[in-house]
Amino acid sequence: MIWLELIYDLITYGLLCYSLFLLAGYIGIGLYSIGEINKYLHKNSFTNYRILATSNDTPSISILAPAYNEGANIIENVRSLLSIHYNNLEVIIINDGSKDDSINKLIVAYDLEKVDYFVDQIIETKKIRGIYKSKNKIYRKLIVVDKENGGKADALNVGINVSRNQYVVCIDVDCIIEQDALLKLIKPFLENTKERVIATGGVVRIANGCEIANGRLIKVGLPHDFLPRVQTLEYIRAFLLGRMAWSRINGLMLISGAFGAFDREIVVKCGGYNHKTVGEDMELVVRMRRYMEEKDLPYKVAFIPDPLCWTEAPASYKILGRQRNRWTRGTIETLKFHKVMCLNTNYGIVGVLSYPYWFFFELLAPLVEFAGIIIFVFLAFFGSINWSYFLALLVCVYTFGVLYSIFAILMEVLTYNQYRKGKDILNLMITAFLEPIFFHPFVVWASVKGNIDYLQKKSSWGEMTRAGLSQPKKP
């Protein structure tokens, strides 16, 4: 009986310690991000981006946009990319063996012709069927690559092979990019003098509810449906607080696949994107960091809090579940590939802080939470629950979750204040109260499913059906 009591105490206090560490982590991240955002905003007020937009001394950039069955919106999306402000730019669209008429639409719309464009196969990829350039000089920045289907990572690797520029900016073709996004994203590469900036990420925001026309964001709005709205809150929390804090200590392990800039030379030296994982965006950043650490080269992964990229969030639980399932599998795969870095001082801050954080708190948290629920049901069945203690703990955790979200909303209001109407902010605050009840359990379940699917060796991307953003959304 003593042993049973000991195990019981061990689980109880173990979980308590884990939870306290988790809460302390959130508090630390929240507070630590304030200084970084504050510093960035002040610094940014001195920046005249016109200099970058017009200068001939700026570094060359290639935008890489893989497209698979994007025929419905591809013309507008490419037009939006071509209108981005930057002098020294090429836009590479990679048609990843689409089954629809994407390539034909592009050929007609942009007056494309097949050319004998030389591509050095530095990174091994699926076969390129053809490379197209426009006969019209207005579109001289555009290169369209038609290739056999091989997935997003493979398509991006083709883009890296085709590109000859200093930096590559990888984006999802269906995202809406702010016109000055590249200027802001490229600045950290030019600012740093102490270490080489190998990658930069920007904030991704939810576009559902926004007014969009011709591939451009006209007006920011809060989504009306609960699921996209709760993801809006989730993204504010993750990007404005989480990533800013990690950026401050140069511990970022993830730059969103939707929009990120990379030093091409380092990407090539690392072998490009790994097509054996569904979390190719995180895996690349971790591999680049690992490469720099192993070569003992000073480097930085930068992050800027400006909302630069707007993406459509899943509006149904089915699609959301697939997305979160994939994210979980991607995280497991990445952490497994680079397990040598875990708690390894040779890998600096990534080894001793970022990796363990991702393992213990991003990957294990949903599993611990799920295990906690099972243990709770089991103990409740045998009448071993101290209900007053349980209820107090539950409301504590709930109020902390709400508090963290409200803090994120405050930071949003104090910084970018994208949702200007009081009604929108009120809606976001109501969402903060509803999220732990109606959204969080689903995310935990999707993550557990991701773990199960990983163990069953499922490697599918999971089809992401989208409603589309090209039509203006009614307020």
Partner: protein
């Protein structure tokens, strides 16, 4: 007993925590509400006040002083009473100053001088000086920037201490301000700069210099020999952008600099100021260079190589690196009229990857 004790205290602790979290939530929500109220109120005022500022700025731009007016001592531009009353309001003053600075950035000549006059007349420089003397780094930087934009040279000595300041933003603004005050002479800070000058700051300086007449280039020879590598890189950009042929020999000396980046930039710069020895100099350093610099050399040879250099470039087609093959073939393609024939007649012309490189060049994609 102990367990019971912990249970009880744990419960009390959790309840206390819950109360604290609830209080913090209420506090934050109140703070959000107040912030939104202030922001909305400011937004309402913003457009009116911006319009008011624009009106005064327009009056100042079109102001024509009388011949005998003592501009330094009297209030000559007619300022509306409303503006005078609002000026002590910090938010209005910020809007007004920002509008004035933004107008000044786009104005030259007498209109720009009038804006300087308006700034002085409203005694806004006192606030700029107050910013410089504050402890907040961004305020100091803002104050310095204001003085520079409004061309207040008399405060040169107030700006000087910040030229080599440890905080980058303040240093950048002080250095830019000296450039605004003294033109090319303002670059003297490069003689003593100990901190690296970021590429972003170099872009800003080049942009600032582009507004000035391209003369009086003194000091570049010192900067090309600076111990601060970023100063050397900046000097190389000046040589390149302004085609300063007199520094050709110093650039050749930089080909043996230990910093790869400086050697690379020297190669880029020298193709803008070539002489009859340039091609030979480039070919001489080629074997010992890094891949990136070899590519720069081949790119420079595209501009300076003649028939005599063709055998060397043809030999580069045999390099194992595809990038080098591509660059060499491209260079030969640009040496008219015979260069490309050497690529076509190369023994590997029908083999990979040269066969595809040839097709690429023949389709004239670049």
């Amino acid at each position: 007993m102990l367990s019971q004790y912990f249970n009880l205290s744990g419960l009390q602790f959790l309840i206390a925590l819950f109360v604290i979290f609830c209080c913090l939530i209420i506090l934050l929500i109140s703070f959000i509400a107040i912030t939104l109220f202030i922001l909305n109120k400011r937004e309402l005022n913003y457009y009116d006040w911006k319009e008011l500022a624009d009106d005064v700025i327009t009056i100042a731009i079109f102001f024509e002083p009388e011949d005998d007016a003592d501009l330094a001592n009297i209030s000559v531009i007619d300022i509306p009473e409303k503006v005078k009353k609002l000026l002590p309001n910090k938010y209005f003053r910020t809007i007004f100053t920002n509008q004035l600075l933004s107008a000044k950035e786009n104005m030259v000549g007498s209109s720009g001088d009038n804006l300087d006059l308006l700034y002085t007349q409203l005694n806004l420089e006192a606030f700029a000086l107050k910013k410089i003397r504050s402890k907040s780094w961004h305020n100091i930087a803002k104050g310095i920037k204001e003085l520079g934009l409004m061309d207040l040279k008399k405060y040169r000595e107030d700006v000087k201490p910040f030229l080599n300041y440890r905080r980058q933003l303040i240093r950048i603004e002080a250095q830019n301000t000296m450039l605004k005050f003294d033109g090319f002479q303002g670059l003297r800070f490069l003689n003593t700069a100990t901190y690296p000058i970021s590429e972003w700051h170099q872009l800003k300086l080049l942009e600032e210099l582009a507004q000035l007449p391209p003369d009086d280039f003194t000091g570049i020879d010192n900067w090309l020999n600076s111990n601060n590598d970023s100063v050397v890189l900046f000097a190389l950009k000046l040589v390149r952008n302004y085609h300063l042929f007199q520094f050709h020999q110093q650039l050749v000396q930089l080909f043996s600099h230990q910093n790869e980046k400086i050697r690379g930039h020297a190669i880029i710069a020298i193709k803008e100021i070539p002489d009859e020895t340039t091609a030979n100099n480039l070919m001489a350093i080629y074997p010992g260079e890094t891949l990136n610099n070899k590519l720069e050399i081949l790119s420079a040879l595209k501009e300076v190589a003649m028939n005599d250099e063709i055998p060397f470039i043809v030999s580069c087609l045999d390099d194992h690196a595809t990038d080098i093959k591509f660059a060499a073939a491209t260079t030969l393609y640009h040496i008219k009229p015979n260069g490309f024939k050497y690529v076509l007649n190369h023994p590997d012309a029908d083999n990979e990857p040269l066969v595809r490189i040839i097709k690429h060049l023949q389709s004239n994609i670049e």
